[in-house]
């Protein structure tokens, strides 16, 4: 079910860092298109520029050159307020280290994007419950992250990324901190979400075998460049 308009379209995107005299090409002239509803896995060794590329798609970082389009919107033409709105409404993010706020309960953590998006209070608790249900944690709603296992924390982070009903889910090594069984269950959750909600997912990962099982397509990076861009199966 490919859409006429791709979810993500990168055109000759570079992100350079200046370190004194030398230039570090974290992302070097990458062009890639992700159709709507695709689950793309981004592979590559450490330091190859995967996170930098993901942050460019998320609007957390701006490219040194090239353009990043998401659902037809050019991120480089947006003001910082518009980029913030894009992050609230169009993308959801999941990190390797979960990044839940430790003193907030699951409910409060998942509610945070709703607060930022100024969603009505009356609507919030149903949406939080719905999101936690989707990841199977509705019974732990009043717990704090420290009372949960790693896998459960990552599920909470996924619920938080989904609560604003974004079109794109960006995950940076979501299984990096988890044992392989738990990692597998997280990936099958992502796959389920992709299929049930028709969501576009870009996931950075180390684990080629898992990526081959769950993703639609694998892209491999090396030294800031896109090495391969083929289909997974």
């Amino acid at each position: 079910m490919p859409d006429a308009q791709p979810a993500i379209q990168l055109d000759q995107v570079s992100r350079h860092y200046l370190m004194g005299e030398s230039v570090i090409r974290a992302v070097d002239n990458v062009s890639v298109t992700v159709p709507t509803g695709e689950f793309l896995a981004l592979l590559g060794s450490s330091g190859s520029g995967k996170s930098t590329l993901l942050n460019l798609i998320a609007g957390l970082d701006r490219p040194s050159s090239g353009s990043v389009m998401a659902h037809g919107q050019d991120l480089s033409k947006m003001s910082s307020l518009e980029v913030a709105r894009y992050r609230r409404q169009t993308v959801g993010m999941v990190f390797q280290s979960f990044n839940l706020l430790p003193r907030m309960t699951l409910e409060e953590n998942v509610e945070l994007p709703l607060r930022l998006a100024e969603v009505d209070r009356s609507e919030r608790s149903t949406r939080v419950r719905e999101a936690l249900q989707r990841v199977g944690l509705e019974k732990r709603i009043g717990h704090r992250p420290s009372e949960l296992s790693g896998g459960e924390q990552q599920r909470t982070a996924i619920a938080r990324a989904l609560v604003n009903r974004p079109k794109i889910l960006l995950a940076d090594e979501p299984t990096g901190n988890l044992d392989s069984a738990t990692g597998e269950s997280i990936l099958s959750l992502l796959r389920e979400i992709q299929q049930n909600l028709g969501m576009t997912i870009v996931m950075v990962t180390h684990e080629r075998i898992l990526a081959e099982r769950f993703a639609d397509r694998l892209a491999v990076m090396g030294d800031g460049k896109l090495l391969s861009n083929g289909a997974a199966r």
């Binding site: 957390l60 607060r115 998006a117 604003n164």
Partner: protein, 447 residues
């Protein structure tokens, strides 16, 4: 973010570092307390001074004299007087005219004379003073035994306490008793043909008596204008004193001059106006009418300037404490930004705009300012009360009546709290913009 969510998150963050944030808030409170205490002293002392002075009648009075005869003892026939056409005698007509001027409450002469009083069959020599109706509000009668004159024409007398003790050491028992005032009345003798104005034999002095009921005993005679106040021992209503038309000690010049007329002339009149601010205009108007006029306005202006400067100095000194508190806020918030790097990064990744992050820090600082301001204002008020209490204990030991040297009017409360909030927000400018500028990619980099 909506304000309610902002303040929700702000309160949460404040609670998470409750010790550090309460100490910071306490620092603000100490600064505000010193500011409020100092200013409350400034305000209180000023109120004390101005209310005493206003009540004294010195600052809402104009002292009027005739313009001419000061350098001409004995005066002279009108034709030979000064060529100044505007100069005119200060007589009953003039008094009525002055009384009709706008904002004038009362116009009265200083009437005081030395005379003999009989009480309980014994004679006493004393100074009698006429009290204008407006002196009731002077404050001198506030703590008196008995009461003020029931009417301006009542045959009633108020005794100064020293004099009352001479009559009877139990001064309270004097109230309701009668005394007899013996005085000399001036009666003019109809002019005889051929007599010149220089002749001072145009009147005769006739001894008279009048009964008064003692209705009160008072500490001192109030200052009912300029000159010689405080010397009266027996106070009677001014209109009565005027009808007695006694040979006043300071009225000799009038007696010497113009004796052919039945109308009294005055060496001086005191004009009470509605408020000190109206003194200047009234003074000018009186000069226009051809009288000499004088007031203590310049003195009161100087006094006001003095209190302005005092307030300013007090505010500057206490602002030092607030400046230190401000540095405390800056420090706390900078620490918070460092500690909450990751949290700020998460908020931004979830879609918080720079503005949201900035506002969050401003609300946190504002809340600390608000609480610091409230607590500080209460502290400041308490310090003022304590100083007043201490002063009054001292005054009490000296047998002096108590005063209120500190005052916290509503504007000072609002100023204290508002200033605390403002200072906190100013202290937040740098930390908040630092937080807002934080790069989320760096903040979220996995360590």
């Amino acid at each position: 973010m909506k304000f309610r969510d902002l303040s929700d998150l702000a309160f949460r963050n404040l609670r998470e570092a409750v010790l550090r944030n309460s100490l910071t808030t306490l620092g603000v409170a100490v600064g505000v307390a010193s500011l409020v205490a100092m200013l409350s002293l400034g305000v209180g002392l000023q109120q004390l001074a101005t209310s005493r002075l206003a009540k004294s009648g010195l600052f809402d009075s104009v002292f009027v004299t005739p313009k001419t005869n000061l350098r001409r003892p004995g005066g002279g026939p009108p034709a030979s007087r000064t060529p100044d056409a505007k100069a005119r005698p200060l007589d009953a007509d003039a008094r009525a005219e002055i009384a009709r001027l706008p904002n004038v409450i009362e116009v009265y002469p200083q009437i005081r004379f030395f005379t003999e009083v009989r009480y309980d069959g014994k004679p006493y020599a004393t100074m009698v003073a006429g009290m204008p109706e407006s002196s009731k509000a002077s404050g001198a009668f506030d703590g008196m035994q008995g009461s003020f004159f029931s009417s301006p024409n009542a045959d009633e007398a108020i005794l100064q306490t020293e004099f009352a003790k001479e009559l009877n050491p139990q001064t309270a028992s004097l109230i309701g008793k009668d005394l007899v005032l013996r005085y000399a009345e001036r009666q003019s003798i109809p002019s005889q043909p051929g007599e010149t104005a220089q002749n001072s034999g145009g009147f005769s002095v006739v001894p008279k008596e009048r009964h008064f009921r003692i209705i009160g005993v008072v500490e001192t005679e109030p200052a009912s204008g300029f000159g010689g106040f405080g010397s009266g021992r027996l106070l009677i209503p001014l209109p009565i004193a005027e009808t007695l038309r006694a040979a006043q000690v300071n009225d000799l010049r009038d007696i010497l001059r113009d004796s052919s007329s039945d109308k009294p002339t005055y060496s001086s009149l005191t004009v009470r106006v509605k408020s000190p601010s109206l003194v200047e205009a009234t003074e000018a108007k009186l000069k226009e009418l051809g009288f000499g006029a004088f007031s203590l306005l310049d003195v009161s202006k100087g006094l006001r300037t003095f209190f302005r400067v005092l307030d300013l100095l007090l505010a500057i000194f206490s602002s030092l404490a607030l400046a230190v508190a401000t540095l405390g806020i800056v420090n706390t918030l900078v620490m918070a930004v460092l500690e909450r790097r990751r949290e700020i990064g998460v908020l931004k990744a979830l879609g918080a705009a720079d503005r949201d992050v900035k506002q969050l820090f401003f609300v946190e600082a504002g809340v600390m300012g608000l609480f610091g301001g409230i607590v500080g204002t209460v502290f400041g008020w308490l310090i003022g009360r304590a100083l007043t209490f201490g002063t009054n204990v001292y005054l009490h030991r000296q047998n002096l009546s108590s005063v209120d040297i500190s005052s916290v009017p509503l504007w000072l409360v609002l100023f204290g709290i508002g200033f605390a909030i403002l200072v906190s927000l100013a202290a937040c400018l740098y930390p908040a913009s630092r937080a807002a500028r934080l790069d989320p990619v760096q903040a979220l980099r996995y360590e």
